[in-house]
C-alpha cells in the first residue's frame, strides 16, 4: 500500500507537530507514509472566497503531486472535503477521479481503510471534541444534531477507547466555531463572537483539552483561548492518539 501524507499549508507552517504526530501515528499502525515535497495546498482558501478559477492551477498541482499513490492521508477533514467535493471543476480525467476518491481524512483512514476501531494508551483528561463542520456535515464523520439526538462518530469512538479519557458534554454539541476560512477576517466580529461562545461552552462544561480533526478550527479557538488566557490546552486528535502527554 503506497500512502502519501498531505500536510495542509497552515499546518506545515504553524503546527509541524501535528504533521509529525500524524506520520508517527500511521507508522505505529503499520503504514509508512511518504511526504512528497512538492505539495502545497488544496486551494480551498481561494475557492471559498469565490476565486475558484484562480485555484485551478493549485488543484492540478495537487493531482500531479499525489496521482501515483494508493491513498493520500490528510490530518484535516476540511481539505479532504474540498478535494472530494470541489475538484469537480477540473476535467475528470482518470487521475483526477482517482485522487478525489483516494484522498482520506486521517481519522476516516484509520477507521475505514485500516479498520482500526480502538487505540491503545491512556489520556486521563477531560477532552472537548470539536469536529469541523466539513468533517461532520460534509464527510459525515459524526451524527448531526439536526438529525438525531444520538451522539456518535468515528473520532469520538477512537478517543473514548483511550484509558481515562472522558469527553465533555457540551451545551451545543456541534455548533460551528466561526473560523470559516477568509470569514475569520472578512466577518471578524461574528467570527470572534462565535469562537468566544464555543470556547466558553467548553470552559463551562469542564474541558481541559480541546481537540478535533481540523487544525484550522483549532487554530482559531486556540487564538481565542490564548488571548483570553483560558485554562484549556489545544491539541489535534492525531497528537492525542499518538500518545501525547500533558
Amino acid at each position: 500500500m503506497k500512502v502519501a501524507l498531505f500536510v495542509p499549508c497552515y499546518v506545515d507552517q504553524f503546527y509541524p507537530q501535528v504533521g509529525i504526530a500524524t506520520l508517527q501515528l500511521l507508522e505505529k499502525l503499520g503504514v509508512k507514509a511518504a511526504y512528497p515535497p512538492g505539495q502545497t495546498c488544496c486551494g480551498q482558501p481561494l475557492a471559498n472566497s469565490g476565486c475558484e478559477r484562480d485555484a485551478l492551477p493549485i488543484y492540478r498541482h495537487f493531482v500531479q503531486t499525489f496521482k501515483d499513490f494508493d491513498y493520500v492521508v490528510v490530518p484535516s477533514g476540511s481539505c479532504v472535503y474540498h478535494v472530494r467535493k470541489h475538484f469537480d471543476k477540473l476535467e475528470q480525467t482518470p487521475e483526477v477521479q482517482r485522487v478525489r476518491t483516494t484522498t482520506f481524512d486521517l481519522i476516516d483512514f484509520i477507521t475505514e481503510v485500516l479498520q482500526v476501531k480502538e487505540m491503545p494508551g491512556a489520556f486521563p483528561h477531560k477532552v472537548g471534541l470539536h469536529l469541523s463542520c466539513h468533517g461532520q456535515r460534509g464527510l459525515h464523520q459524526a451524527n448531526e444534531s439536526e438529525m438525531t439526538p444520538v451522539r456518535d462518530g468515528q473520532l469520538r469512538r477512537l478517543l473514548t477507547s483511550l484509558d481515562g479519557l472522558e469527553l465533555t458534554e457540551l451545551d451545543r454539541n456541534d455548533e460551528c466555531c466561526g473560523f470559516g476560512g477568509a470569514f475569520c477576517v472578512s466577518e471578524a466580529a461574528i467570527s470572534g463572537r462565535m469562537g468566544h461562545d464555543r470556547a466558553h461552552d467548553h470552559l463551562r462544561n469542564g474541558t481541559q483539552v480541546l481537540t478535533g480533526g481540523d487544525m484550522s478550527c483549532l487554530m482559531h479557538l486556540e487564538g481565542i483561548v490564548r488571548r483570553q488566557k483560558l485554562p484549556i490546552r489545544v491539541l489535534h486528535a492525531a497528537e492525542i492518539l499518538n500518545g501525547a502527554t500533558l
Binding site: 500536510v7 499546518v11 509541524p16 511526504y35 482558501p45 439536526e146 477576517v185 467570527s191 462565535m194
Partner: protein
C-alpha cells in the same frame, strides 16, 4: 453606488455583547424546540425527501400547474390576476381596493407583500393598511422591516414592545408584562378587524388540483380578517404551488415542526371560493422568480416554504440579527435569494456564512443552501464585486500555492517575521483583523517540511 456590507452591520450589532447573547439564545431555543419535534417523528427525513421531490416536480412543470390552478380557481368563482413584478402587484391591489370604494385594509402576515413594499405604496395612495399579525403590527408601529420570516419582531425585547405600545397605543409607561401587552394589542386590533373593508393575506400553499389557497397562522388573524371583510385578496409567488390536496399533509407536517417545533400551526385555513355576495381574488406574482427558475444552480431555492429554520440554526444570523442582511428575507435563504434580485447590492451576503452546512441539514425541503452560497461566491467574484484587496490577494495566493518553491520561501519569511517582529506590530488590530479577538499561532522554528527533510532516509 456603494452599499454597507453585512460585516459592518454585523459588527454594529455585536457591540452590545449582552443583547447579542440574548438574541442568539432566543433563537437557539427555537432551534432546540424544532429538534425535539423532529426527533419525535421517525419518518422525518423521509418526509423531507418527499417534500423536496414534490417541490422539484412542481417547479419542473410550473407552467402546467399554474394554468391548472388558474382554471380551477376561476371555476370556483375566484378572480385571478397575474403580476410580473412588485409594481404590477401593488397596482392590482390598489385597483381592487378602489373599485370597492374602500379605504380600510387589514393584512395578515405575508412576506410577498413585504417584498413588494405594498404598505408604503397603499398608504401613499390614501389607504389605511393595518398589519394584524402581532409581530408584524409591532414593527409596523415602529416603521421597521421584519427581521425574521416567522418571528418578524424577534429582534425586540418585551421592554421595547412596552415602549412602542406606550407611544402608539397609550398603554402605561414601563409596562412589560407580555400578557397585558398582548391584551392591549387585541383590543386595538379588534376595532381594526371590525372596520376592515378588504382583507389581504399571503399564501403558504396553493393547490393546483382544487384552486384553493392555504394560509397557516398561529393567531387566527387571517381567518378573522377574511371572515369580516367583504373582499379577500390573497397574494402568492408562483413557487407556492403544490399539485394535489393529498400533497399538503407532507408540508403541514414539516412546516410548523421546522419553524417553531409545533406539530402543526394553530390555524391551517383553506380558501377555495368566495362566500355569497363576496369577492375573492388571487394575485400570482413573479417578481424575479422565473429568472431564478432559469438558473440551474439556484432553482432549488424556489422550493422554500418560508419556515425560517435556516435562520434559527444559523450561527451567523443568530449573532448578527435579521436587519444585518438588508433584504426582505434574511438569513441563509435570503443570502441565496437576494443575489438574484440585485447581485451588486447583496454581494456580501453569500460571504456572511462559514459554510457550516447546518442550514442545509435543517431545511425541510432539502435546499442545498450552503452549496448555493458557495456558487454565488464564484459568480460574485467573476462579476468583479469582490473587494479589491481580496481579489488581488487571491490571485497572488493562486500563483504562490501552485509553486512549491515560492510557497516554501514565503512561509519561512512569514514565520521568521512573526517570531522577530514585536507583538504590537504583528497583532495590530487595524492591519490584522485576525488579532481583534485572537492571538496568532506561535511560529515554530521549523516547518513540517524542514523537519521531514532532516529525518534519516528510511
Amino acid at each position: 453606488m456603494s452599499y454597507l456590507t453585512h460585516a459592518s452591520r454585523a459588527e454594529a450589532f455585536n457591540l452590545d455583547h449582552e443583547r447579542t447573547s440574548w438574541h442568539d439564545e432566543t433563537l437557539w431555543f427555537v432551534r432546540q424546540k424544532r429538534d425535539k419535534a423532529v426527533y419525535a417523528v421517525p419518518e422525518f427525513q423521509e418526509l423531507r425527501s418527499l417534500a423536496s421531490a414534490i417541490k422539484e416536480h412542481t417547479l419542473s412543470r410550473l407552467d402546467h400547474y399554474l394554468a391548472q390552478f388558474e382554471a380551477a380557481a376561476l371555476a370556483n368563482g375566484v378572480q385571478v390576476h397575474w403580476a410580473a413584478d412588485a409594481a404590477e402587484h401593488n397596482a392590482i391591489v390598489l385597483d381592487i381596493v378602489r373599485k370597492r370604494g374602500a379605504t380600510k385594509v387589514v393584512k395578515s402576515k405575508s412576506m410577498l407583500t413585504e417584498e413588494c413594499h405594498l404598505n408604503p405604496y397603499l398608504i401613499s395612495h390614501g389607504i389605511d393598511v393595518i398589519d394584524t399579525d402581532l409581530g408584524e403590527r409591532i414593527i409596523q408601529l415602529r416603521d421597521e422591516p421584519p427581521s425574521h420570516l416567522v418571528l418578524p419582531a424577534i429582534h425586540l425585547k418585551k421592554e421595547d414592545v412596552g415602549d412602542t405600545f406606550h407611544q402608539h397605543l397609550g398603554t402605561e409607561k414601563g409596562l412589560t408584562d407580555p400578557q397585558q401587552l398582548t391584551e392591549a394589542a387585541r383590543q386595538h386590533l379588534r376595532a381594526k378587524f371590525l372596520a376592515g373593508e378588504v382583507a389581504l393575506t399571503g399564501v403558504n400553499f396553493a393547490i393546483a388540483e382544487t384552486g384553493s389557497v392555504v394560509v397557516c397562522t398561529n393567531e387566527g388573524n387571517a381567518d378573522l380578517g377574511v371572515s369580516l371583510a367583504p373582499v379577500h385578496v390573497a397574494s402568492m409567488g408562483i413557487e407556492k404551488l403544490i399539485p394535489r390536496l393529498a400533497d399538503l399533509g407532507v408540508f403541514t407536517r414539516l412546516l410548523a415542526r421546522s419553524a417553531t417545533g409545533q406539530p402543526v400551526t394553530t390555524y391551517t385555513s383553506h380558501y377555495t371560493q368566495p362566500a355569497e355576495g363576496r369577492e375573492m381574488h388571487v394575485i400570482i406574482v413573479d417578481n424575479g422568480r422565473t429568472q431564478q427558475l432559469g438558473r440551474p444552480d439556484f432553482r432549488a431555492s424556489l422550493k422554500c416554504i418560508r419556515c425560517g429554520a435556516c435562520m434559527n440554526t444559523c450561527p451567523v444570523y443568530r449573532r448578527s440579527g435579521g436587519h444585518s442582511y438588508d433584504f426582505t428575507v434574511p438569513g441563509p435563504i435570503g443570502s441565496i435569494l437576494s443575489p438574484n434580485i440585485d447581485l451588486k447590492k447583496h454581494s456580501t451576503l453569500p460571504f456572511a456564512s462559514t459554510l457550516c452546512g447546518s442550514c442545509t441539514d435543517v431545511c425541510p425541503v432539502k435546499i442545498d443552501i450552503h452549496v448555493q452560497l458557495y456558487k454565488w461566491r464564484q459568480i460574485i467574484a467573476e462579476a468583479n464585486h469582490l473587494p479589491a484587496a481580496k481579489k488581488w490577494g487571491m490571485k497572488f495566493m493562486g500563483r504562490l500555492l501552485a509553486s512549491p518553491n515560492a510557497f516554501k520561501i514565503s512561509g519561512k519569511l512569514a514565520r521568521t517575521g512573526l517570531r522577530l517582529l514585536p507583538h504590537g506590530l504583528t497583532h495590530n488590530q487595524t492591519a490584522n483583523a485576525w488579532a481583534i479577538a485572537r492571538e496568532l499561532p506561535e511560529p515554530p522554528k521549523q516547518s513540517f517540511r524542514e523537519w521531514y527533510q532532516q529525518q534519516a532516509p528510511a
